[in-house]
Symmetry: C2
Subunit: 614 residues, 2 copies
């Protein structure tokens, strides 16, 4: 895996520096102490940790699945060691202020750093990801004491964190949660840790939901506060957020020695991502779990969604890096495995059996599978970094730019989450195909990548939900202004690329596709009927995603052309980027027009098919 | 699973009787004793056996993977019981002559019968499939004594059979096998069991390669006979076929008590299909394994390929039925699982949270996922049965018809193998998606379907190989006459359907797509350069497959329209077929034109991308 991480690093350098020019961020006040050297130092450290502490254990955590022995959850020791090494590096607080012990690292660099861990072991990575997200949320929405007592120990790696949204009867439909939070006594508003409640209910699919690592687990739990009649308010406006520690703590942050009333009802036995425990938790089987409200009553989902955009980009990043890891594994196999001979030029298919076999990378169909994987996974990584760069712009840019970045992010986030989840899963399937029978066995890493990646279309909002979000909300945001910003950004790239002879055709193709997209959006909503507009939302999501990815590849192709103008540049590397771009425009982008058709004509099939016909 | 098998049975009845009108086969001499009743009796029996002996154990054979304890391969007891029940039913010899103890069942009915077992447990089914294929090959190419000694006990379920083609250094490139067959003594031509050789070499990926079931395992092994200098002849013409029993037998078919020199070098630990052992076998670690030649020297691959077409249709059938099983599992979940609410008609996306949740089958995107699965899996099943019907035509039709059937089969076989392997795998992924988190756990059957199905794009000729076969050989067969027969068959359906108002549009769309296909084939070969023609062969395979499937669905839609003319017909069932057809024409067929473009312009990207650019 060391060679693979080196290869990923080369692409990260290209994306961060040649394309996104992240060193320019050093002009922003928040990042003045950073520059190419500090970014390189962070990436060096991550590359080493990923190679030493994560990659070697990726198969082990798959095979030695978490086990609940009736009392405790048992994990292989390498899990705690990987989490400890990650925490010791300071990366958990990478984006936090210096004052809070953070590094004030730009989001785009933090994302690049995290990509190396995701490639090495997604199952080991998830604990840190969730812990950082939990603590970041508390830093934004918690009180000073909540930050000190619950967030700080997470940044230090002493506590772990989870996000508890789903319930058995309410997966995608968060408004239907029934976990109750009842005010705990007359003085409940005066607890120093925040308004105190007794929490009761069942939370499902909780990643990192239980284990024995660290000193404590901090659960962030969505629940509803019943009204005076004991009824739960309907809809998402009735949802509040609570911090609920596994082990009780006092106002000085000391463990009291009491366990909170949270019971592990069982672990889920998953297809992949087995390194990460996934639990069903029962809150309040006894007297009720004690939790402290974070933010105002009814503001729970808003607080949670503050983090959700970044969480969704992280999901996309994980998917991208699984795709990348599979690509590199299959590339290395394809270079070394001799099999078959090239087809000779001529009217009939002739292969000279007395010639030696060639490495399979010589076969056009293997090149197709490698180019597809490269286009999917490197393109997806580029998209996540672009989104992370928008996060930085939103937080540190001049007001007008910050607002444009925020709106772009709203539109791009469902794509950043869903596109890699779908297409880097396909990349993983192609990696298996390149390895053939070997790819189908557990001797090779690629089957695990495929299993691990299958989760990403499901968690943090399913594929279908992302489509509804994109066409039902984001495309309409600010009367379509948010969409227009993204569309105009893509058109600008098409205009710029038109002057490059090598990219002139692609620039026209992108411009045409963007026009189709804008028109289809309008046509979908032209009758003003959400039922008609949204019936084909997933098809819209796919098309939009492919068009965004064509835009990304045109950007990267431009950057590569510029580099190739310098004869001393590493030309194989840049020719590879151009070939991947050409692959995407030849084999992928034309599909978008097909997917947009049912959207544009508001095709009724999916609305009108009756359940009893199946 | 009983309800699911009943549902599959209803579709089988529709396909066999309403569409393919199999009772007409009773006019053929070979099938005069058969008719609707005997076919129903066979299917009843299979449905019961599949429900009782296969389905309940599908998960067990996945979890209790075959284990090699250093001496023997251990399998769960249910495996032997399922194989024994299958053998006791007489199905192993279903297509054999009455004289040989067979049922003289048409291939199309045998295929339908087998589909029920594949849906119930593909991993348990494989043993019988391989055994029947092995014995069928021996009945065609073996001597009378080879048939009696090696084939007959397989039909009786006493022996099991395997096919040993691949080697570690020669997977897809069969001409590179190095297993040697050396004449065994001066009298080797006079052994009653056939010319006797000593076999030495390594065979990889051997399904059913070792276990303790039955009395013996009959391996059919491809090997090369060295020339006088000890050199192996290059190419596939140097390959011969040998029958090599695990336990030695005498000319009366009695076990001698001696083990042949075949050593289990290891079991492969697979991603799926775990019910079936998969072995690396070393032949001749000692004095050489004794094998008897089947057919002439150098005729090995020809003999093997005699069976390969049917084996490939069987692979396609297995893929189709895994897709079908997943579809029905997700359908049942979608009908029962409440989640979310319908979007209201109106300008903004409104959902009334105070209304109860609806079953997810009400959501358009879930209908999309169900329609896609239905179109993929039922369409794939229909294609396999159509191909099987062609096998019957080839064997029992009038000479001109038989020849047309043979040529059609040559063209359709790569599609019948590859299309279900690709798209019913996608169906299995959609089934997981419908179940969401539940689909990602081992509590539900759908994740196993997905893992099991991933093999089908790999074994019996990879996807890439099927593409080369289709565009490189089959499209050129008899100067394109074979292709023309298939193309004309599809055009005829388009012409017939045009008169039905409901199908008029689809009939035009199919005719247009068929024209594109014919033109792309010609353009691919227009420069007479196989390198240029074949660089995009996999894209051609995909497009051809989708066009064939559109043709299948237009056929089934016609049949359904006819049925709906009768008001007493089961209309929900037929409306479902029409909806699946409409799905396919709306969302799938238009992709074929995109995939044909690089083929038609002989796009050079996949040829010209240099290995060092990756």
């Amino acid at each position: 895996m060391e060679a693979e991480l080196g290869s990923i690093r080369a692409t990260l350098n290209f994306l961060l520096h040649d394309w996104l020019q992240v060193v320019r961020l050093s002009k922003r006040e928040r990042f003045t102490e950073h520059g190419a050297e500090t970014y390189a130092a962070v990436l060096d450290l991550c590359q080493r940790l990923a190679a030493e502490r994560f990659a070697p254990f990726n198969r082990r955590v798959d095979v030695e699945e978490p086990v609940f022995d009736g009392e405790r959850v048992r994990l292989p020791a390498c899990t705690e060691e990987a989490c400890a090494a990650y925490a010791a590096s300071g990366l958990l607080a990478a984006s936090q202020d210096y004052d809070a012990g953070g590094m004030q690292l730009p989001c785009v660099v933090e994302m690049a750093a995290n990509s190396l861990f995701s490639a090495a072991s997604i199952g080991l990575k998830a604990y840190s990801l969730l812990t950082a997200a939990n603590a970041n949320l508390l830093m934004t929405h918690g009180t000073a004491l909540q930050r000190k007592v619950f967030a700080q120990p997470q940044f230090e790696g002493r506590y772990f964190g989870t996000m508890d949204l789903s319930e058995p009867q309410a997966g995608s439909s968060i408004s239907d949660i029934t976990t109750r939070a009842v005010a705990d006594g007359a003085d409940h508003e005066h607890d120093p840790l925040g308004p105190r409640y007794r929490i009761g209910g069942r939370k499902m699919w909780i990643s990192g939901g239980d284990h024995e690592m660290g000193e404590n687990i901090v659960h962030l739990v969505l629940a509803k506060i019943p009204d005076a009649d004991g009824k739960l308010p309907p809809g998402t406006n009735g949802i509040s957020l609570f911090v609920v520690p596994k082990h009780r703590v006092d106002a000085d942050g000391r463990l009291t020695g009491e366990r909170n009333d949270i019971v592990l009802a069982g672990l889920n036995h998953k297809l992949g991502y087995r390194g990460t425990t996934n639990a069903l938790l029962n809150y309040g089987e006894g007297t009720g779990a004690i939790g402290y409200r974070v933010g105002a009553p009814g503001a729970g989902l808003r607080c949670m969604f503050h983090m959700m955009n970044e969480a969704r980009i992280q999901v996309g990043l994980g998917a991208a890096m699984l795709g990348y890891a599979g690509y590199l594994a299959s590339l290395s196999y394809a270079r070394e495995r001799p099999q078959g001979r090239p087809v000779a030029a001529g009217r009939t298919v002739v292969k000279n059996a007395s010639q030696p076999q060639v490495p399979i990378i010589e076969h056009p169909d293997v090149k197709r599978m490698l180019l597809a994987q490269k286009a999917y996974s490197e393109g997806a990584l580029a998209l996540q970094l672009y989104c992370a760069r928008l996060v930085d712009e939103q937080h540190t840019g001049p007001p007008a730019e910050a607002e444009r970045a925020r709106l772009s992010l709203e539109v791009l986030t469902p794509i950043a989450k869903s596109w890699p989840s779908e297409w880097c899963l396909e990349a993983n399937s192609l990696a298996i195909q390149v390895l053939g029978g070997y790819g189908y066995t557990r001797e090779s890493p690629v089957e695990q990548h495929w299993r691990d990646n299958r989760l990403n279309m499901i968690h943090e909002g399913t594929h279908g939900i992302q489509g509804l979000d994109l066409l039902g909300r984001k495309a309409l945001l600010h009367d379509g202004e948010a969409l227009e910003i993204v569309v105009e950004r893509m058109r600008a790239t098409a205009r710029e690329a038109r002057v490059l002879r090598e990219l002139a055709l692609q620039s026209v193709e992108l411009a045409t596709a963007v026009d189709l997209l804008a028109r289809a959006t309008q046509q979908a909503w032209s009758t003003g009927n959400a039922q008609e507009a949204l019936a084909n939302a997933t098809s819209y999501l796919r098309a939009f995603g492919h068009i965004v990815m064509a835009w990304i590849w045109l950007e990267l192709a431009q950057t590569s052309c510029r580099a190739l103008d310098d004869p001393s540049a590493a030309t194989d590397f840049h020719h590879g980027k151009l070939a991947a771009a050409r692959y995407f425009f030849t084999f992928e982008l034309p599909l978008a027009a097909v997917w947009l058709k049912p959207v544009a004509r508001r095709d009724s099939l999916l609305r009108s098919t009756e359940p009893q016909w199946f």
